[in-house]
Amino acid sequence: MSAITGIVLGLGVLAAWLGALAFVRLATALERLHAVTFVNVAAGAAIVLAALLTDGVSSRSLKCLLLLVVTLPVGALLTHVTGRALHTRSGEWR
């Protein structure tokens, strides 16, 4: 179980690194929003899965699951609002 937890956790950290590198690599702010979503979904899901594997069903792991359930729709909402704000600021959509 410990090895599986380590692998899942490693995948989560790898996803975080990949998101950060994509963030640096992508040029515009609207493109960079994709990196934020990737980190929220991929790294978040992997780390919460590792938390469930570590603790089993406990109050802490259930709070981690709640965190993921909150983060996914809130992240989508924030990405939409940020993208709309940036699009409006650029003057293409008034």
Binding site: V13, A20, F23, A29, I47, R60, L67, A85
Partner: protein, 84 residues
């Protein structure tokens, strides 16, 4: 098991620093997105630290930060859209 989580927390620090550095450089649009990324990394880091130090109650910090990110980033985005 806590060693694995401590290693993961240390592994999450460089991406966090990249996001924090980006939040201080560039245009307003880039900074806004960087703040969003940094808050995502901060939540993940707090989860990892909660398991690394085996403090079950400190997971509430991550949950609180995730809930406070919504109005915080929303306000920043509205300010960026209308007034800044």
């Amino acid at each position: 098991m806590t060693q694995i989580w401590l290693t993961a927390a240390l592994g999450l620090l460089p991406p966090m620093f990249i996001a924090l550095w980006a939040a201080g450089h560039g245009t307003l649009a880039h900074r806004l997105v960087a703040v969003e990324l940094a808050s995502s990394f901060a939540v993940l880091l707090l989860i990892a630290l909660s398991f690394a130090f085996d403090q079950a109650s400190s997971i509430d910090l991550a949950l609180t930060l995730a809930l406070l990110t919504l109005p915080g980033t929303l306000l920043l985005a509205v300010f960026a859209e209308r007034w800044l």
